[in-house]
């Protein structure tokens, strides 16, 4: 069986959907963060998969590296926020943190 671009894209879409599901359904901010990371990785997978059409510069792989670095940075910031939220609200359930409602 030859692994084609379509397979990559399907895996990526499944990964993205799982990520969305996690983001929308989990009651723990850290799990939500994990969902976000999965969606990001789905995107990175797409970058790498499309990278085979640019074998001279390998722009897809390069851009994926940048994205991974940025994801690590954003995850660090997000974790810091989660930590601060926990200190303030004694919970990290995003459903209960709804002060902006009123």
């Amino acid at each position: 069986m030859i692994i084609t671009l379509t397979h990559y894209l399907l895996v990526s879409a499944g990964l993205f959907s799982i990520g969305i599901y996690i983001v929308l359904s989990k009651q723990n901010s850290i799990q939500v963060l994990i969902g976000v990371e999965m969606m990001l990785n789905a995107a990175i997978l797409n970058l790498v998969a499309f990278g085979k059409f640019d074998k001279v510069n390998n722009a897809g792989q390069t851009f994926a590296l940048f994205a991974i670095v940025l994801a690590a940075a954003s995850t660090a910031v997000a974790l810091a926020i989660v930590l601060n939220v926990y200190r303030r609200h004694q919970t990290i359930d995003p459903g209960k943190i709804n002060q902006l409602k009123d």
């Binding site: 969305i20 983001v23 995003p94 459903g95 943190i97 002060q99 902006l100 409602k101």
Partner: protein, 686 residues
């Protein structure tokens, strides 16, 4: 108009106006003074009328038997007709001016003692106003002003008759007087309107003066033709009827005479003024003013009514027991003489009798006031249950009150018309001229002189009855109070001076130096027509002698009946006595027919008002209520309902969208996803 009058005349007019204005000033001052000012008010009014009398005599001296003074100014303009207001001073008006003030003066003086000090302020306010109205009435030169003051005289007499307004009878009496006078006022007003329609002027001089419009108008072919227009003949008679009604109401002639006896409810001093110079004289004065407008038929009507009234009132006076009521009916009777004298062309004699009557009737009323005052005093002192005005309770007062007795006697002699009194001069003048007038006319015209002659005899009887019952015989009060020493006297000098003054004025010298001939009286000469021929007919000797002899005989008969035999002439059961005692049932007739009919009508109108008019209003109210209920329902359920629906809709939409703002991040994300998906799905479908 003013410019044409010389300086001296202007001064005279000013004096006349001041004479009229002073009582008004007195009234206004009294009105402004506090009610407790007591005697001060009395003296203010008396002073005002004293000055007024002085000015009036000055004016009288200047104008009497001189050319008439007429000063006027434009008052207002109706369309193209100017209406002037002014003063007319001729023999008639200055004579009335003097008479009213001279009569008012003793009445004022008398009132200062007669009225209680605490009531004087109100009393003198009214009295001064009354004098002012009458004085202004005699001076004005326009029918409009005449009417205005005519009304004011009626109004102020209403105030005075009802002076003791706590008494029901006084209130009834002044209402009656006022309503009867209103009937007369309607007559006068309609007469003025008719005269204005015909002649286009209210000016008395233009209408009735020498060469006035009245003289130039004639009645031809059933039309009343004047230089200013023409009307059907009947309007001339309607105008006469109006004037007659006015005169009958003010001067108490049949059929409108019944208010005058009831007007006795006022203070006696007021009665004196009303009966002498102010109120009742206004009617005769009006006749004098408009005299030229009457034709022969109308004059005959006046003569008949006057004669009948004189007779009617004299017969009623025969049986009355109330002292003031007897005098009131004698006034009506004497006024009948005056009206009749006007009717028989004895213009001068009528006014002459007005003057002499004013003095002796004022005198008689003031005497009656003194007597009633004293009897009332005793009644109050001893708590008696008697009528202070009933002559049956008097008797024998001659020795207790000598001055009052003499004054009353003079007044009564003048009223009967015995020689050496003023009444003799004026009354015989009327009688003689009545006989002369009937001479050469149809037989039935003789009824008038004969009737008036009989009336003179009746007058002698009731006057004698009055004198004998009040002053002669035993002291009735002594019989009622046997053990008490009665203090009855002539009263203070405020009572005595007016009595003495008026007694002197009731004798002949004031009017004529010849006590037996009315033709030599200066008053008569001032008024007599230019073509008056000094009568040499047999009546000039026959009438005075026969009337005097008849009067004396009748008086003696009354003396014999009442004092010697102590019985009544007619038993109270006979028809004639009842007729006289009940005043010919005229009052009863009015009450039964007119008052009842009016009451019935007003009840019917009241019913109509209550049921029909009010019912209609209630129907309208019901309809309005129904309509407004409908409107309220519409408002509540339709208009408000629509608004509520809108708010409900808005609220629903708001709530719907509010639901999305749950504040939960994951929901927001979900909705974003849904939106993106929706866009994609739509893109796919299109």
């Amino acid at each position: 108009m003013i410019a044409a009058v010389s300086h001296i005349d202007l001064q005279t007019v000013t004096y006349a106006l001041a004479a009229v204005g002073l009582p008004l000033v007195g009234a206004v001052i009294n009105l402004l003074l506090p009610g407790r000012s007591g005697k001060l008010s009395g003296w203010i009014s008396t002073l005002a009328v004293l000055l007024s009398a002085a000015l009036a005599s000055l004016v009288f001296g200047r104008v009497w038997n001189h050319d008439a003074l007429h000063v006027q100014q434009l008052w207002f303009t109706i369309g193209n007709t100017p209406v002037n207001a002014g003063v007319l001073l001729n023999n008639l008006s200055v004579f009335m001016l003097l008479l009213v003030t001279v009569i008012a003066l003793p009445v004022h003086l008398y009132s200062t003692a007669y009225i209680k000090p605490e009531e004087q302020n109100r009393y003198f306010t009214y009295l001064s106003f009354f004098c002012f109205s009458m004085l202004a009435l005699v001076l004005v030169d326009s029918m409009v002003l005449l009417y205005a003051f005519w009304e004011l005289v009626g109004f102020s007499s209403y105030l005075l008759i009802g002076f003791w307004f706590m008494r029901d009878s006084a209130v009834q009496a002044n209402k009656k007087a006022f309503i009867m006078n209103r009937i007369g006022d309607i007559g006068l007003l309609s007469a003025i309107i008719i005269l204005f329609t015909q002649y286009h002027t209210f000016d008395l001089v233009q209408l009735f003066g020498a060469n006035g419009l009245i003289f130039k108008s004639t009645i031809q072919n059933g039309m009343w033709i004047a230089s200013t227009g023409q009307l059907p003949e009947v309007w001339q008679y309607v105008a006469f009827a109006g004037i007659f009604l006015a005169v009958a109401a003010k001067s108490a002639q049949f059929p409108l005479h019944t208010w005058l006896p009831d007007a006795m409810e006022g203070p006696t001093s007021v009665s004196a003024l009303i009966h002498a110079a102010t109120m009742v004289a206004a009617g005769v004065f009006l006749l004098g003013r408009v005299y030229p407008m009457f034709n022969d038929v109308e004059l005959n009507v006046l003569a008949i009514i006057g004669c009948f009234t004189a007779f009617l009132a004299a017969t009623i006076a025969l049986t009355q027991n109330d002292l003031k009521r007897i005098l009131a009916y004698s006034t009506i009777s004497q006024l009948g003489y005056m009206i009749m004298a006007m009717g028989i062309n004895a213009y001068a004699s009528s006014l002459f009798h007005l003057a002499t009557h004013a003095f002796f009737k004022c005198l008689l009323f003031l005497c009656a006031g003194v007597i009633i005052h004293e009897v009332h005093h005793i009644k109050e002192e001893h708590q008696l249950d008697i009528d202070a005005q009933d002559i049956n309770n008097m008797g024998g007062l001659r020795k207790k009150m000598p001055l009052t007795f003499i004054a009353t006697l003079i007044g009564c002699l003048a009223l009967v018309g015995l020689p050496f009194t003023s009444g003799y001069l004026s009354k015989d003048g009327i009688l003689i001229q009545a006989f002369e007038w009937a001479e050469g006319k149809a037989l039935w015209f003789k009824i008038i002189p004969v009737g008036i002659f009989i009336t003179s005899g009746i007058t002698a009887f009731y006057v004698a009855r009055l004198i004998f019952k009040v002053f002669f015989g035993d002291l009735k009060l002594k019989e009622i109070l046997p053990n008490v020493n009665l203090h009855i006297s002539d009263g203070s000098w405020s009572f005595r001076i007016p009595l003495i003054f008026l007694s002197i004025c009731s004798l002949f010298p004031l009017f004529s130096f010849n006590p037996f001939s009315y033709e030599h009286a200066w008053l008569f000469e001032g008024f007599k027509a230019g073509n008056y021929i000094g009568g040499q007919s047999i009546y000039h000797q026959f009438i005075p002698i026969s009337i005097s002899v008849l009067s004396v005989l009748i008086a003696y008969w009354a003396f014999a009946v009442y004092l010697k035999q102590r019985k009544l002439v007619l038993s109270p059961d006979t028809f004639l006595f009842k007729l006289s005692y009940n005043q010919w049932y005229i009052d009863a007739f009015y009450k039964q027919v007119i008052v009842k009919a009016i009451l019935l009508l007003s009840h019917a109108l009241y019913w109509f008002d209550r049921t029909v008019i009010d019912g209609f209003i209630q129907l309208l109210q019901q309809i309005t209520l129904f309509l407004s209920g409908l409107a309220a329902w519409t408002d509540r359920y339709l208009v408000d309902g629509a608004l509520n629906l809108i708010t409900l809709l808005v609220k629903g939409i708001g709530n719907f969208f509010r639901g999305f703002q749950s504040g939960r991040v994951q929901y927001y994300l979900f909705s974003m996803l849904a939106a993106v998906l929706a866009v994609f799905i739509i893109k796919l479908l299109i």
